[in-house]
């Protein structure tokens, strides 16, 4: 069974040592997903697997046989910008841009988690079925994505605005 990357089937690497991150970047030439720390500490390599955010640097590609992976290149089918990408531009949610693909994939995973009421480490009533995405909630839920330029205020603003727009839509 192959793996699906942005809707397209690909054959898995023969060597099980190849991480999902290296498979994306080196084999498939999808350079949007970034290698930051390569040890699960920075979040730059975040991609979506069946809609859930994971760290592709800590994943062996062979573990994801039959799964559907979405990278920053695959957020829209037409090559245009996703509303969250547009919001990052408008809110200056980046300087060097290296962490941005991971930030954006992570935030999209976050939206799905919030929509189904998943709690976070700062959720007051952990048994509540609905989550209010306050500033504290947003920061906690994005804490696995670091930005060394310090664009966090813009990142938080872009994510909050896109989330609010999605709820209003």
């Amino acid at each position: 069974m192959p793996i699906r990357i942005n809707g397209i089937e690909a054959d898995l690497p023969g060597d099980p040592r190849v991480s999902l991150l290296d498979f994306l970047r080196e084999t498939l030439d999808l350079h949007g997903t970034k290698k930051g720390c390569n040890q699960g500490a920075c979040g730059a390599c975040t991609v979506l697997v069946d809609g859930e955010r994971i760290l592709s640097c800590l994943a062996l590609a062979v573990q994801y046989e039959g799964r559907s992976v979405t990278t920053i290149e695959g957020l829209t089918g037409d090559g245009g910008l996703h509303p969250l990408q547009q919001a990052f531009i408008e809110h200056d949610g980046l300087q060097c841009g290296y962490c941005t693909p991971g930030q954006i994939c992570s935030a999209l995973g976050l939206f799905a988690e919030v929509a189904r009421g998943a709690p976070s480490g700062v959720t007051g009533d952990i048994a509540a079925v609905a989550v209010d995405l306050t500033g504290d909630e947003l920061r906690e839920r994005m804490s696995g994505n670091l930005c060394r330029c310090g664009a966090h205020n813009g990142i938080v603003a872009a994510i909050a605005q896109t989330y609010a727009a999605g709820r209003a839509a």
Binding site: P16, R17, G43, L60, L110, A127, S143
Partner: protein
Amino acid sequence: MTPFSYVRARDTTEAIQLGAADRAKYLGGGTNLVDLMRETVERPLSLVDVTGLSSLIQESDDGGLWIGAAAKNAAVAEHLAVRRRYPVLAKAILAGASAQIRNMATVGGNILQRTRCTYFYDEDGSRCNKRAPGEGCDALDGFNRIHAILGASPACVATHPSDMAVALAALDATVHLQGPGGARTVRLTDFYTLPGDRPDIETVLQPGELIAAIALPPPSVAARATYRKVRDRASYAFALISVAAVLEVENGAVKDVRLALGGVAAKPWRAHKAESLLQGGPATERAFVAAAEAELADAAPLHHNGFKIELAKRTIAAVLGALAGEVA
């Protein structure tokens, strides 16, 4: 990474057959094992992927909870039965790692994760008795701010990094094992071993044995529980000290208390001394402080981690005080 073969086990029987191979390791989400393989601290010849085995989370007939070892950390923390009946477990998991890692990591893998002692990780440059038995321990006289204050030995002062396991220790969880010799059940607090002169041995797991599930006994309806983690930053860092506490107070007296500490030892540290002092006594701040003092009486600081003793005492007292206030 050194070369290895990879195979996905279809069921427990097949996993155990494959796990009997020379230097085979079971693979969960890989969030720790893949990292350690990249650092060549772990060098398995084969990986047996057990993420396809049971990830069922289900309330059991006795009113407890059954958690398949392949359940993702995120799935456990999100499960309504966990959030409503075992909030200390959900809170510990949510404090444990980023959302991305919680989406990958399994319950079995979380329990079996290795220490984050930097000398253990530094395969090229440091001596470590856990990694290479008999080699020596560079943490003992090194930078040991994050290291153990309880249950350590001259051979090893590493701590266990899991938050989830600290909550499981306080909840009297049992670990269900499957292996070449059949199935057996071990209490989580008996599952881990202290380093002694063999810090490379961390659990009672026999060769080829696999964690199949975790079981929790029914929670006390009247008890309050929480998990507090003290770390260098507000999120996404390992614990310096953590406390999982379950407290039931009746008419101002402690009817039941279960207390476990993280960040202090090579295993989740069940605070039996503090518990026995508190049991049946007054639920007062003074009693909480005295219990914390008693639990830490044997604590042995290293050069850089003496602060942990006072931090542990104060965190225990604060957590118990907050829980008692809730039920007052």
